[in-house]
Symmetry: C2
Subunit: 324 residues, 2 copies
Amino acid sequence: MDEKFIIKKYFMPLANGKDSLQLKDDVANIDVADEKYIVSNQDSLVMGTHFFKSDDPAYIAKKSLRVNISDLISKGVRPYGYFLSIAMDDTIDENWIKLFSKGLAEDQKKYNLTLLGGDTVLAPNGLFITINMLSRTNDTIIKRSSASCGDNIYVTGTIGNSAIGLYLLKNKNDNLGLDSKDRQNLIRKYHLPNPRLQTIQLIKNFASSSMDTTDGLINDLLVLAGTSGRVFTIKKRSIPYSVSTKKFLNSYGDCDIALYGGDDYEVIFTSPMKFEDMLNEYAKKIKLRITKIGKVGNLSNHPRIYDEKHEEFKTSNYSFKHFK
Amino acid sequence: MDEKFIIKKYFMPLANGKDSLQLKDDVANIDVADEKYIVSNQDSLVMGTHFFKSDDPAYIAKKSLRVNISDLISKGVRPYGYFLSIAMDDTIDENWIKLFSKGLAEDQKKYNLTLLGGDTVLAPNGLFITINMLSRTNDTIIKRSSASCGDNIYVTGTIGNSAIGLYLLKNKNDNLGLDSKDRQNLIRKYHLPNPRLQTIQLIKNFASSSMDTTDGLINDLLVLAGTSGRVFTIKKRSIPYSVSTKKFLNSYGDCDIALYGGDDYEVIFTSPMKFEDMLNEYAKKIKLRITKIGKVGNLSNHPRIYDEKHEEFKTSNYSFKHFK
């Protein structure tokens, strides 16, 4: 396999916008004449840390895009294009690249994205993917730091599915009251997060602060509380679980895997009380499940979160750490 | 080592511009209200492919930045900021990170850059660095595709130093007529390319097409000729070598290592004949060595390059391939 051959055959067709210069100049030339901001983030996924060699290359491609898409959505901005760097060892063959680029193409269509540039290099060992994704926008982003006292706290979708999916992959013989469809549902959520473009407008219209959940709901709520410098109260019994996750938790007997497990890629956000009815109506209209799980409290030098019994949440051993 | 600790102690101080949002939001919010374009490129460097474990971490940091800086300079635009992703195994300790971030800080100062964001993740094996660097600009970039018939072809600086530096590292016992200062000069060029900001204005004012040299002078000239769809004639005897490289080539007896060896990070560009005097005067003023090495010829369905004896240059075995 030759770098130029791979780029020409598999990546150039994905660079279909004029800003990419068809990958001919090693730079993208992004037109921002009508924009106020570029909002951009960059995430890396590593084989053995974020995915496995045996995973479907199309899923790896989509997960790599979606962890970045999720970040931008949570800021209330629409992803526009991305740079892709792959470092891979010589166990990666052309068929792998073909399936990987097919996954990219499918998600480019789903999320209306274009490839802008990047790099393909040889690694002595392993597989490493870095994506820089950007939004061109006139909108002000919704930050993590701007939660106000009295705001309601919400989460989109359901949580814990992905962490339980990973548990099931690692513990194939545990039954835990799940049928094969439950298992499939949960494992699929681990392989493929599902950030939704319709969340963008909701965040933009109604959120006072916002972030996506990547390191486990409670850990991420601690970050949001910390960045806003406030105390949060979270109703444990309001936290939304899928039917499959509920079944699992009933058998497993401990919610921490769902509360502290990572890779949900949902959005947690705060919203002023006065928006409550409008927000619920809007969420219903766009068919987005949102759940009110708590309240923003006072400013504090020791931001922290409590449950409804006023017990403090701690970071737990289930905490998913990118870096140990 | 904890991801958050590393980011807070070593990377937050580098994110000193307001666009980075102090790395608190996982996104950068880049103000482009007064700009027409974002010009952006992304390159990855891998331990064992682009650098060695034993290399000075500060040099690795600087090389990672400079390969990107070189790309932007060759397009005639000024680098503004960068995203940094590092994936590393557990042999990387805090002292390594400290030296690495010191290298970043020194080059941020030298090139007037700011850190905008990025990611730090655990890898099972190895060390992988991806940098996305961008320029905010109102200028039109100088492309590779726009060389015209009759244009002169130039190269900045001298070529071959880095490839010979790498050869010397790998063949420590070869004397080849070099004293220790020559060896140091050449090895230093391998460790640390030296793109120059003053090249930007020269390219912007005088170049019709341009790219940086990364894969060996002849290979890169073939790309420039190919992208412009033209035949180039290159005077072999005009190609500029440093004193140390000349000594080496005299002993070694074969110029291919300099002509086809990679990692020069100089700029090759074409410029209309009518600019020749002005260009030379400007280069002299900014103390930038440029050498006229050839002429752009006719459009061709088979773009290629000839030497002064009308012998065709081929890609050679010395060709530095990022990906084999």
